[in-house]
């Protein structure tokens, strides 16, 4: 005989619980945590290579790198001389809160003032899995085309800022950078946007100023140590 059993449970409840636990650990340790998400090749690691040396004199910076395969990005960050934990997902297309929790036990990660979580390059899946971070930044290569925010809205809807990278290359393509920003704000009204280039350093200081400002706001909240 068939019978129906009512359940009403959140499917990602477990991830949400682990993410909340991560957030508690970040706040207790005084670590401000920023996730970088975006498509593969948008420049997430290159941006870290540009900003970490500028931040490192004043701040202890650490990075958790998420990749489907290889420790190449982790090696690039390690060359900067800051603590880095590499997560290799072996095929999984996103980081989840449990993977990050395990990486937090690696040396130096929770001793930082500012921790970056670089997610697997992907505009779809990472949007569904909160990691406990304080800010979510979506990094896009300008040459990917201005329609991307409309085509992958979930990622932009959850973003706290967009870094529109590789703007030095925009002149060589038909991309419309103003439309890129307009579409992003159509999905996520008021989204702060930073146009950057890792080649010319355009916009890098402005983005660092935003990160500094966001960290100050977080430190002023009661949850931060």
């Amino acid at each position: 005989m068939l019978s129906t059993i009512a359940i009403e449970e959140k499917i990602l409840g477990k991830n949400d619980e682990l993410a909340a636990l991560n957030r508690t650990r970040f706040d207790a340790a005084g670590v401000f945590v920023v996730t970088l998400s975006g498509s593969p090749g948008g420049g997430k690691t290159s941006l870290l290579e540009r900003i970490v040396p500028r931040l490192a004199p004043g701040w202890r910076v650490a990075v958790i790198e998420g990749d489907v395969a290889t420790a190449r990005d982790g090696e690039r960050i390690a060359a900067l001389g800051v603590p880095v934990a590499q997560i290799v997902t072996n095929g999984t297309c996103h980081l989840n809160a449990g993977m990050v929790a395990r990486a937090l036990d690696r040396a130096g990660v929770l001793d930082a003032d500012l921790l970056f979580l670089e997610n697997v390059g992907n505009l779809v899946c990472p949007a569904a899995f909160g990691l406990g971070e304080h800010e979510r930044v979506v990094v896009m290569g300008a040459t990917e085309g201005e329609d991307k925010p409309l085509k992958y809205p979930a990622m932009f809807r959850k973003a706290d800022a967009m870094v529109l990278n590789k703007v030095d290359l925009a002149a060589f393509t038909p991309v419309d950078l103003d439309a890129f920003e307009t579409y992003a704000r159509q999905v996520r009204p008021g989204l702060p946007v930073f146009r950057t280039s890792c080649t010319t350093d355009e916009g890098i200081e402005e983005w660092i100023a935003w990160l500094t400002d966001r960290r100050q706001s977080w430190r002023a909240t009661p949850s931060a140590r």
Binding site: M1, L2, S3, T4, I5, A6, I7, E8, E9, K10, I11, L12, K14, T92, C93, H94, N96, N122, V124, C125, A127, A128, F129, L150, Y152, P153, A154, R157, T182, R185, Q186, V187, P189
Partner: protein, 120 residues
């Protein structure tokens, strides 16, 4: 893409609710239009992962939207549209991230057969 890991979690939760001796026949989930999940893709992974041959029902919850300019409220099926009344480019969504296991249907026929044999 991430439907695979979500369906894996879903199946784990659903099977945990199946009473001993019963067989899972149907799983009912509710998803919001802002989750970016594809019901077809969820069914594909569900069929591949569910050994008992159960079915997956996916209900897509309507999106409740409000216009920040003219304050009109409406239900829409897809995110990303402009306001039909005043053409403001973006709407504010009040929901859309639902991802819930609503209910399961189980077949406890095995128990019935046992009882039938007992009474004979």
């Amino acid at each position: 893409m991430h439907e695979a890991s979500i369906v894996e979690r879903l199946l784990g939760m659903a099977t945990a609710h199946v009473p001993e001796g019963a067989v899972l026949r149907r799983v009912h989930v509710r998803i919001g239009a802002l989750t970016g999940l594809s019901p077809d893709s969820m069914r594909f992974y569900f069929d591949a992962m569910c050994p008992a041959g159960a079915a997956l029902d996916v209900t897509v919850e309507p999106l409740r939207a409000a216009c920040p300019s003219c304050a009109r409220r409406m239900n829409v099926t897809e995110a990303g549209g402009s306001c039909p009344a005043c053409s403001a480019p973006a709407l504010h969504y009040e929901n859309g991230l639902e991802l819930d296991l609503v209910a399961i249907e189980v077949d406890d026929a095995l128990d019935d057969r046992d009882r039938g044999e007992d009474s004979r």
